[in-house]
């Protein structure tokens, strides 16, 4: 077992330096957990296959070897059990990080997450907080078979008491996971699985942006594209293509889905007066609905056109060979933008 110190992780000193070298997102996440395990002996990791195998995506690779089975271990195969025992451990004072193998496999734990993880702090008047991080490889784009490509964010973001964040690049993956682990609030940490092996990110200089802030990842003047997780790359591609059409696109990476960074988004929309939100999940009641509704509420008189949602269709996630027809593409986004009346 690796030596551990009693120093608690300090959210203030997330070290982007560590992630500054070109890492994959997988490696950045692994490093974040490694550093947290080293700095705080109360951090433990468990779940399905997270031990010797390192998880089906190898995000916990080497952690059991380096920290021992009493810090990082394979649990029985039961998601409600994983979350339920994590709650008990957190009540004891540990800071459990658990992995749900895919979004759809967090559903057996829905009751534990919604009725307990989200509510324990409030129920006990703040006396019992649950510093649990629930890591979920999310979304599609890897040709996964049924149940392996869901985007579950709307279920979690509608649930008061949960903090829901999602990184879109390795640097954020590192700093946001560190901050999530250090947070006394339970965090749903959505990892875009299609990005695990991508090295390119949005390099950041200076200290890491707090995980509850959105980032303007590309400046523009005509339209604001609101994206998160796997759709940030799509939005950036769209912005590039839009140059040909003389359309200046600002791209925001929301990063934090709950809370929502009204300030950053509001400022952008007031500037561009047009916005669209992009996600993979089904549209109806999806996270984009909240984004569109709240931004419209707050910035209605600055809007020249309705906020558009370019999202998955209202159908179950398709089989691998058909997913390309479902996922939002730059072409589809540009098509959608062209439906706006532009000469108002």
């Amino acid at each position: 077992m690796a030596k551990t110190t009693e120093t608690a992780a300090d959210p203030g000193v997330t070290q982007p330096a560590k992630a500054a070298k070109p890492l994959t997102m997988a490696a950045a996440l692994n490093t974040a957990m490694r550093d947290a395990l080293t700095e705080d002996s109360n951090v433990v990791i468990f779940g399905e296959d997270v031990g010797p195998l390192g998880g089906v995506f190898r995000i916990t690779d080497g952690l059991t070897r380096d920290f021992g089975e009493d810090r990082v271990w394979d649990s029985p195969l039961a998601e409600s059990g994983i979350i339920g025992t994590a709650i008990g451990m957190a009540m004891y004072g540990l800071r459990p990080i658990v992995e749900m193998q895919f979004d759809a496999f967090s559903y057996p734990a829905f009751e534990q997450i919604v009725s307990h993880v989200a509510k324990m702090r409030n129920r006990t008047r703040g006396r019992v907080s649950l510093p649990i991080v629930i890591r979920i490889p999310t979304s599609g784009g890897i040709g996964g078979v049924e149940h392996h490509s869901d985007s579950s964010e709307a279920y979690w973001t509608h649930t008061p008491g949960l903090t829901v964040v999602t990184p879109s690049n390795p640097a954020d993956a590192y700093s946001m996971l560190r901050e999530a682990i250090a947070s006394d609030d339970p965090v749903i940490f959505l990892e875009p699985k299609s990005h695990y092996w991508m090295k390119e990110g949005t390099p950041q200089s200076g200290p890491a942006l707090p995980m509850n802030k959105a980032a303007v990842v590309r400046e523009g003047t005509d339209v604001t594209l609101l994206s998160y997780g796997p759709t940030v790359a799509v939005a950036l591609k769209t912005a590039k293509l839009a140059e040909d059409e003389d359309l200046s696109v600002e791209v925001i990476d929301l990063r934090s889905l709950s809370p929502f960074d009204d300030e950053t988004v509001g400022a952008s929309v007031r500037k561009t007066s047009r916005a669209a939100v992009i996600h993979e999940a089904a549209q109806f009641g999806g996270y984009g609905a909240e984004v569109a509704a709240r931004v419209t509420e707050r910035e209605f008189y600055h809007l020249a056109a309705p906020i558009l949602r370019i999202t998955g269709a209202d159908i179950p996630f398709p089989a691998p060979l058909l997913e390309k027809h479902y996922l939002p593409t730059p072409e589809r986004i540009l098509n959608a933008l062209s439906t706006w009346e532009w000469e108002v």
């Binding site: 433990v44 021992g68 089975e69 009493d70 271990w73 649990s75 029985p76 039961a78 409600s80 059990g81 979350i83 339920g84 025992t85 994590a86 709650i87 008990g88 451990m89 957190a90 009540m91 004891y92 004072g93 540990l94 057996p108 009751e111 534990q112 009725s115 307990h116 509510k119 324990m120 702090r121 409030n122 129920r123 006990t124 008047r125 703040g126 006396r127 019992v128 907080s129 008061p160 008491g161 903090t163 947070s183 006394d184 609030d185 509850n212 809370p259 929502f260 009204d262 300030e263």
Partner: protein, 374 residues
């Protein structure tokens, strides 16, 4: 250290006969049926008796005030005092209890003040006490979920080498939930220091135990988890105390979890809004009255000359004090601060939530009498 070991537990069928030390008539069970156990010390029995009597008085008072509308709802544990008190009396202060809505008297008997304890049922806040102060988790409503919390907590203690055990209460009906299985199974695999006390009071609201399991008894479930299982007369405080004490000691000293089924009966309706006449006969209830847990211990102690009038009076006084304190607590207006609704949702402050808070504040300020909407 590794939580799991290659070793498999042997398969042992629990005894079919419910374990008992003092029978329904108040007589000590003959030694050869005691399976090697002695009766607890007479002082322990007196203490069990005292706590049960007071608990029943308190419970009766809560039921009465609930009928008068002072509480939103109350699930009484009348008839289950031996299981409730026998269990918590066996616990050390450092052990943690993970109770359900049914187990108010157990929580009360652990020392949680009435006003804090009944917050949830009165309706001023979901959980009124500090779990850390009383080493007692909030009463769980979502059935069987608490078994996993108890196992996680116990596992954390084990990982930290702290000699702390946890007790999870669970009802007969709740054992049908997936979480009950996961709780038992995780405990078995991780050898968590958790004692599961199944209070088989024969009904889940209106549904009888025969519709929950085809097995001989719920204790048989233990076999499938490689966990020791016990079937105990849940109206015999001596038996409950003995088996739970042993299980807790085993747990604290690295021997892993135990499943204990206490066979008992819910004498009252499920809650005040239930109507048991729709699903059970008055005769059944009457038959169980003859097995009353307090009566039998009182008979035993009387036969042993272990209680005299002075003690009876002392206990009666304590009971009335508890009831009076209960009434006072519930008759006092609860302190309600609508602004607190926004306070504990997150540790990290949220501007948007503050906006909602301020909107409610403005609304309330607008209302002339300063703090009440319609």
């Amino acid at each position: 250290m590794s939580l799991t070991e290659e070793t498999r537990a042997p398969a042992v069928l629990p005894d079919a006969e419910a374990f008992s030390l003092i029978d329904a008539g108040g007589a000590a069970v003959p030694e050869k049926q005691r399976r090697g156990y002695d009766l607890p010390d007479i002082d322990v029995l007196k203490e069990l008796y005292r706590r049960m009597v007071i608990a029943r008085r308190w419970d009766t008072q809560v039921t009465a005030l609930t009928r008068q509308g002072r509480l939103s709802t109350y699930p009484s544990a009348r008839g289950q005092e031996a299981s409730e008190i026998g269990t918590v009396a066996a616990m050390q202060d450092t052990d943690w209890l993970f109770p359900t809505y049914r187990d108010s008297i157990a929580v009360w008997s652990r020392g949680v003040p009435t006003a804090e304890l009944l917050s949830g049922f009165r309706g001023d806040w979901h959980c009124g006490w500090d779990p850390n102060e009383h080493r007692t988790a909030p009463q769980a409503t979502p059935l069987a979920t608490q078994t996993l919390h108890a196992v996680g907590f116990a596992t954390a203690a084990k990982l930290k080498n702290d000699p702390i055990a946890t007790v999870a209460f669970i009802g007969d009906g709740a054992t049908s939930e997936g979480d009950a299985h996961e709780g038992f199974n995780f405990a078995g695999v991780w050898q968590a220091p958790t004692v599961f006390v199944i209070q088989n009071n024969q009904y889940a609201i209106s549904v009888p135990i025969a519709k929950q399991t085809r097995a001989r008894m719920l204790a048989d479930r233990a076999v499938g988890y490689g966990i020791p299982g016990y079937h105990v007369d849940g109206n015999d405080a001596a038996a409950v105390y003995t088996i739970v004490s042993e299980a807790l000691e085993r747990a604290r000293s690295g021997g892993g979890p135990t499943i204990i089924e206490c066979l008992t009966y819910r004498m009252e309706p499920h809650t005040n809004s239930d109507d048991p006449s729709r699903y059970r006969d008055a005769e059944d209830v009457a038959a169980w009255k003859d097995k009353d847990p307090i009566d039998r211990l009182e008979k035993y102690l009387t036969a042993q000359d272990a209680i005299d009038d002075a003690l009876r009076e002392e206990i009666a006084k304590e009971s009335e004090d508890a009831a009076a304190a209960m009434r006072d607590a519930m008759n006092a207006e609860p302190a309600l601060d609508p602004m607190e609704l926004f306070e504990h949702v997150y540790n990290a402050p949220r501007p948007a939530l503050l906006e909602q808070r301020n909107a409610l504040k403005a609304e309330l300020d607008e209302i002339s009498d300063g703090g009440r909407v319609n």
